[in-house]
């Protein structure tokens, strides 16, 4: 990492640095690991932070903010190390820039619960540099030795007690060189890190001023809405262009890949134009397929497809010699939509000289490559501004909506256009959480311990489309994550294998990815093993668990929920799973108010996310992850008819609402020694199995296929 004081350099215009301000930039040595990042993108020197002459600190945060709290968490880290007054910091999502490449990805993108993990050290170092430079500048101003000074809350304080505000010394700091080495704060010196500081994005999110992609406005901006083939990959067959053009406000009808866009003066006019256009479609890879055929194809691969080992230890046959019982189980989950609260959208203005994009995106580097590829402009001519994201959930890692915006802007003569999808288009043209099937044979010995563990996971591969280079020998690691070598249990003679199922249904990253189904499979199988061996599900897990930090979380959740002593009529289910560098255990308590009705009364969650920046954000992310997973487990099911998604809106694709929400207690473990773990996703995986395990405890009915609604259970 190279840090530069750019206050005095000739980048003012380019970086937006105001003359007279203090500004730091930093860049990583060019170490592109992947093809996407290999292109020399830009000579843009990304500014990291500026302190203006009023002493206001402007931070550029290198992660998209979609609710997960990256923006406030990263701002909190910087503010803490630089000893800023929390009231005097302002944080914005950074524009496109090489310096903002996520060190864990090698590209500018947000996902995989990496933001705090990836930026923890670099940001602390940046903040510490600022602190040291301010101390140096403050000492100069006061005519004292820097070693007799310290920084505290936006001031440099001399041992005599006299002090200066950062605002008074920015011009001195602007002339200083960046220290070679800095000391990071000790834990006891943190003033914001580790505390429930109010999120910096709160004020804008209670008065409507937070700018999401859908809110972008420019002079002469037109609005487009699109319809693409309901069957995936189909083509436009016919349309009534004349009728569409007659609709007041409609300006253009533009063909796009697999469909058509209507461009108008506003969204409503564009929608009316689209209705008048009445496009029809033909063909498509999924054309003619319904649920039964899609499931049959999956089962065919599970039966006869090419299985590749995901993790093999010991020998199944040897293990089975010690077995006294053998459990054969099949588990299944359906395709799921993301349904981000803000429908897909992007704004592009593409001329022969430049491309400017404003978008709620998780994937800046890939988006720039897409825009460059379509427009023929070199990447350095592509500007990308990331707005707030009305949730991302992995859906906004995709570039399809960016592609459309760029293309439409070019086709209407280089004018700016905002593409806004209807909810129906959003639900029917997702990159779905893949359907998955898991077949277990688990052998237990006399004491109930697993002696052989066979698991075949059949599911489409996300990586073979998104980053094909990462699929080696037919193995997509994301498809088996949480069930292979990284399984949380001691499983002697483990044979976990993967069958890559080719499907015409597009699949993508959905909050917690493979963990979203493998935790359900594994934690259900373990629960079945516990019951088969006559053990308490908690005691059994404690015996078989191999991940030490997850064991502690499990222990704590049992204590917090008073495991095994639920009141009459309340039934408990437990699950634990590690993912994205964190360790989460959950207990669900259910009651059965009526026939086939299930009420989730309480969820207790313990999360070990290692070092935490903001425990309240983690709490909220665990709670949100629980409700996201509960929605999926209770209702989530994307169905197909003639190759198209049947569901179109929230009336047919239900979300958990206020009345179904249980009491949720989240305990964030204190584990500063371990470094930060992820927190956007790890709350999701345990909830589905904890819920179905509770349902088993209540009814003796083992739900092996989700959602519950398909099994006749109603969440109330």
């Amino acid at each position: 990492m190279k840090i530069e004081n750019i206050s005095r350099r000739d980048f003012f215009r380019k970086t937006g640095v105001t003359a007279g301000a203090f500004a730091l930039a930093f860049s990583f040595p060019a170490t592109p690991k992947r093809a996407l990042a290999a292109q020399g993108e830009s000579d843009f020197i990304a500014t990291w932070l500026q302190i203006d002459e009023e002493g206001l600190v402007h931070l550029w945060i290198p992660a998209s903010e979609m609710g997960q709290g990256s923006l406030p968490s990263l701002a909190q880290i910087l503010a803490d190390e630089m000893e800023a007054d929390y009231e005097r910091i302002r944080a914005l999502t950074a524009p496109k820039g090489d310096a903002y490449k996520n060190p864990m990805f090698g590209m500018q993108a947000t996902g995989g619960s990496t933001s705090v993990r990836a930026w923890w050290n670099p940001l602390r170092e940046i903040g510490a540099n600022v602190r040291m430079m301010m101390i140096e500048a403050g000492a100069q101003k006061m005519g004292v030795r820097p070693s007799d000074c310290r920084a505290y809350n936006h001031r440099v304080v001399h041992s005599s007690g006299k002090s200066v505000d950062y605002a008074e010394i920015v011009s001195i700091a602007a002339g200083l060189s960046v220290p070679e080495k800095v000391a990071l704060k000790e834990r006891h010196e943190h003033r914001y890190i580790g505390k429930a500081m109010p999120r910096v994005d709160l004020p804008a999110k209670v008065n409507g001023s937070a700018q999401f992609g859908i809110d972008v406005d420019l002079p002469e901006l037109l609005v487009a809405t699109v319809m693409t083939s309901p069957a995936f990959g189909g083509e436009l067959e016919s349309m009534d262009q004349e009728a569409a053009m007659k609709v007041r406000g409609v300006k253009h009808v533009v063909e796009i890949p697999n469909g058509v866009a209507v461009v108008a003066t506003g969204y409503w006019q564009a929608q009316k134009g689209l209705r008048a256009l009445n496009p029809s479609f033909q063909g498509g890879a999924s054309k003619g397929m319904d649920d039964a055929q899609i499931e049959a194809a999956l089962r065919k691969d599970a039966d006869n497809g090419k299985a590749v080992p995901a993790h093999v230890s010991g020998d199944l046959a040897t293990g089975r010699q010690k077995a006294v019982q053998s459990l054969e189980m099949e588990y299944q989950v359906p395709y799921l939509a993301h349904s981000t609260m803000e429908p897909m959208n992007a704004t592009a203005w593409v001329t022969k000289e430049f491309a400017k994009i404003w978008a709620p995106t998780q994937a800046q580097t890939p988006s720039v490559m897409i825009a460059s590829g379509i427009s023929g402009l070199p990447p350095e001519k592509v500007e990308l501004n990331t707005t707030f994201l009305g949730t991302g959930l992995g859906r906004r890692f995709e570039g399809d909506f960016i592609q459309q915006a760029v293309l439409i802007s070019m086709k209407i003569g280089g004018k700016p256009v905002k593409v806004v999808w209807s909810r129906e288009e959003d639900m029917r043209h997702d990159f779905y959480r893949p359907q998955a099937l898991s077949r277990f044979r688990v052998d237990l010995d006399q004491s109930g311990m697993p002696v052989a563990w066979e698991n075949r996971i059949t599911t489409p591969s996300i990586f073979s489309r998104v980053f094909p280079g990462m699929v080696k020998g037919g193995l997509d690691r994301a498809a088996v994550e949480g069930a292979a070598k990284d399984a949380d249990y001691e499983l002697p003679n483990q044979h976990t294998e993967y069958v890559l199922h080719e499907s015409p249904i597009p699949v993508g990253f959905w909050r917690s990815v493979g963990h979203s189904f493998n935790a359900f499979f594994m934690e259900s199988a373990i629960d079945e093993a516990a019951h088969a061996s006559g053990s308490d599900p908690y005691d059994y897990r404690m015996k078989v668990m191999k991940t030490p930090r997850l064991r502690k979380a499990l222990e704590m959740v049992a204590e917090k929920v008073n495991w095994g002593s639920a009141p009459k009529g309340i039934f408990q289910g437990i699950a634990a799973h590690s993912s994205f560098g964190s360790f989460v255990a959950q207990v669900v308590e259910v009651s059965l108010p009526g026939e086939n009705q299930i009420k989730v009364e309480r969820v207790v969650c313990v999360a070990d996310c290692g070092t935490y920046v903001n425990p309240q954000i983690i709490q909220m992310q665990m709670e949100g992850g629980i409700l996201f997973g509960l929605t999926a487990a209770a209702f989530g099911d994307i169905n197909f008819e003639d190759g198209a998604v049947k569901q179109g809106n929230f009336d047919s694709y239900r979300m958990v609402k206020q009345k179904e929400v249980p009491t949720i207690e989240v305990y964030v473990m204190d584990n500063y020694e371990e470094g930060p773990g992820g927190f956007g996703e790890p709350g999701v995986p345990p909830i589905a199995p904890a819920l179905t395990n509770a349902l088993f405890a209540a009814t003796g009915n083992r739900v092996r296929s989700l959602p519950l609604s398909k099994q006749g259970f109603e969440l109330v």
Partner: protein
């Protein structure tokens, strides 16, 4: 021309008769705090108040609001000082924030009719969707607003 009274100001716009209030607000008047989520009155992201009643503006014709008082999130206060906004900040409700304009407006309407709602009444009245799962925080913030409003009233 359609004349609408929004946040106390008279505004004139030229829209088709069938234009929903949502798109009149967002595209014509650039009041983008009110959000589009579903278009079928199922999610509540577009909730505004018309004569004090919460309506889902994606399915409410702009013409039907003529002659009535429309209140959007932008009109609640100049400085986030409305008790419901204050409670939302104090309980740190917003995550992504996209649905929160609608949640806040629904809560304002609920508290107008029922200054001290029970949990069950909140369950019944607050039917907005939040994909981040802020529901429990929304509930706490409504109770906090109710206490605040009562203290102010006392």
């Amino acid at each position: 021309m359609l004349e609408l009274k929004i946040n106390g100001d008279l505004r004139r716009i030229d829209v088709d008769e069938d234009t929903p209030l949502l798109w009149a607000l967002r595209d014509e008047l650039k009041l983008t705090g009110t959000k589009f989520g579903c278009g079928i009155a199922a999610c509540g992201a577009c909730t505004v108040l018309v004569d004090g009643e919460a309506v889902r503006s994606c399915s409410y014709p702009a013409t039907a609001a003529a002659g009535k008082e429309i209140l959007t999130i932008e009109g609640l206060s100049e400085d986030n000082s409305h008790p419901v906004q204050q409670a939302w900040i104090a309980e740190s409700v917003p995550q992504c924030g996209y649905c929160q304009s609608g949640q806040i407006m629904a809560a304002v309407s609920l508290l107008k009719k029922n200054p001290n709602p029970t949990d069950q009444q909140i369950d019944e009245q607050m039917t907005n969707i939040c994909r981040c799962g802020t529901y429990n925080a929304v509930r706490r913030a409504i109770h906090r607003s109710a206490r605040q409003l009562q203290e102010q009233g006392a």
